[in-house]
């Protein structure tokens, strides 16, 4: 396998595998928020804010993978 195709494979794998975990995490977070909302519809505001915060935390991990992928793709 020549270096160029190895690089392309690495970029794809970094982004794909890096998005796997945060995707699951965001799914679980959304599940929890929906359940909380169904049980207590009045707490919509705080639940939504906290859900956004937690989702941003989970999403940051995918963003690290994205930064690595961008670095691999455009810098090295």
């Amino acid at each position: 396998m020549d270096p160029e195709s190895m690089k392309m494979l690495a970029i794809g794998l970094v982004m794909g595998l890096g998005a796997l975990g945060p995707g699951l995490g965001i799914g679980i977070l959304g599940y929890g928020a929906m359940q909380g909302l169904a049980r207590n519809p009045e707490a919509r505001g705080p639940i939504f804010t906290n859900m956004l915060l937690a989702i941003a935390m989970a999403e940051a991990i995918a963003i690290y993978a994205l930064v690595v992928a961008i670095l691999l793709g455009f810098i090295f």
Binding site: A56, I70, F74
Partner: protein, 323 residues
């Protein structure tokens, strides 16, 4: 559609709606076919259509490092700095114009800004409590407004299409300030010092004790010289110091995570728009623009709220929590 007057859908009559849908569909289909994907499909089918050159956009050139436009006394001014200045001037001028003639019964613009600031203020109070919320509000609100307006400013059509010739090659004159790694880093450092300032102000040296917790360890060593040798004491002292070190490390990692979250989101948005314009010109960017507006707002909120949460954690000491 029970009454005969209200015929139509989405606020327009049926002929207007149908014509609009046809025009939109036509634009989308032509845009799709003129992109690389559509060209590939057409070539498979054996059809050759040459599209006008203004429709076909070139392969996107993506620069991570912001190019220098000009320099003042050796300080290089990049295009992202220019965009940051424009955002700042826009915000300062805007708030000056709005607060210049405040009325008891607000006008349109004033009520919009009162609503926005009131919403952020309520958020601060709900997270940090009444007293601390008032203290943290200025910095948090500035961060939210700067990041949010910056993200939305770079979505304005024509923002990135002004090209200037600098140092022998063409660059965009303006680029969203947070697509340069330095601006998010600067914001993260500001938020870090903000948290540290309020932590030190409200807890004094006790705030530092969370991170450099060598007290129990030295105390147990001192007790050892007095003849009371206790292995568990020394062990728990070491563990305490180690936990403090971990907290310190997590604080530094928080700095990096703040930086890369904002930088990654903004850069990814810009690259997404570029790639969308390259793959399917005029077809997908309608949706991407809406998505990017949402992302900009959410990232601004997240940056502000996380600063707020960490500041709140810093002013409430760990001792009062556990007891």
């Amino acid at each position: 559609m029970t009454s005969s007057k209200k015929r139509g859908c989405l606020g327009c009559s049926f002929p207007v709606l149908i014509i609009t849908v046809i025009i939109v569909l036509g634009i989308v289909i032509v845009g799709f076919l003129s992109g690389p994907i559509g060209q590939g499909i057409l070539e498979r089918l054996g059809i050759h259509i040459t599209f006008p050159s203004w429709l076909v956009s070139g392969k996107p050139a993506i620069h991570l490092a912001a190019p220098e436009i000009f320099n003042i006394f050796g300080l290089s001014i990049t295009n992202t700095i220019l965009a940051g200045w424009i955002t700042a001037i826009f915000l300062v001028l805007g708030s000056w114009l709005i607060t210049r003639r405040m009325k008891l019964v607000p006008g349109r613009l004033q009520s919009v800004f009162e609503f926005l600031l009131g919403w952020i203020y309520d958020l601060c109070e709900s997270v940090a409590g009444k007293e601390n919320g008032r203290k943290f509000f200025p910095v948090v609100c500035t961060i939210i407004l700067f990041v949010g307006f910056n993200a939305w400013l770079s979505l304005v059509p024509g923002f990135g299409s002004i090209l200037v010739n600098a140092h022998g090659s063409e660059h965009e004159l303006l680029r969203g300030a947070n697509t340069d790694l330095n601006t998010p880093l600067a914001l993260a450092i500001v938020s870090f010092f903000f948290v540290a300032f309020y932590g030190l102000k409200s807890l004094g040296v006790g705030w530092l004790k969370q991170y450099f917790n060598f007290g129990p360890f030295f105390k147990s060593i001192g007790r050892m010289f007095k003849g009371k040798f206790n292995v568990m004491d020394i062990f728990s002292g070491v563990i305490n110091a180690f936990v403090g070190g971990l907290e310190f490390l997590s604080m530094l990692i928080r700095l990096i995570s703040f930086t890369f979250r904002l930088f990654g989101n903004m850069t990814a948005g810009e690259i997404l728009v570029l790639v969308g314009a390259f793959l399917m010109p005029m077809a997908v960017n309608w949706i991407i623009y809406g998505f990017e507006a949402l992302v900009g707002l959410v990232q601004a909120l997240v940056f502000g709220i996380l600063t707020l949460v960490f500041a709140t954690m810093a002013v409430t000491s760990h001792e009062t929590e556990s007891h």
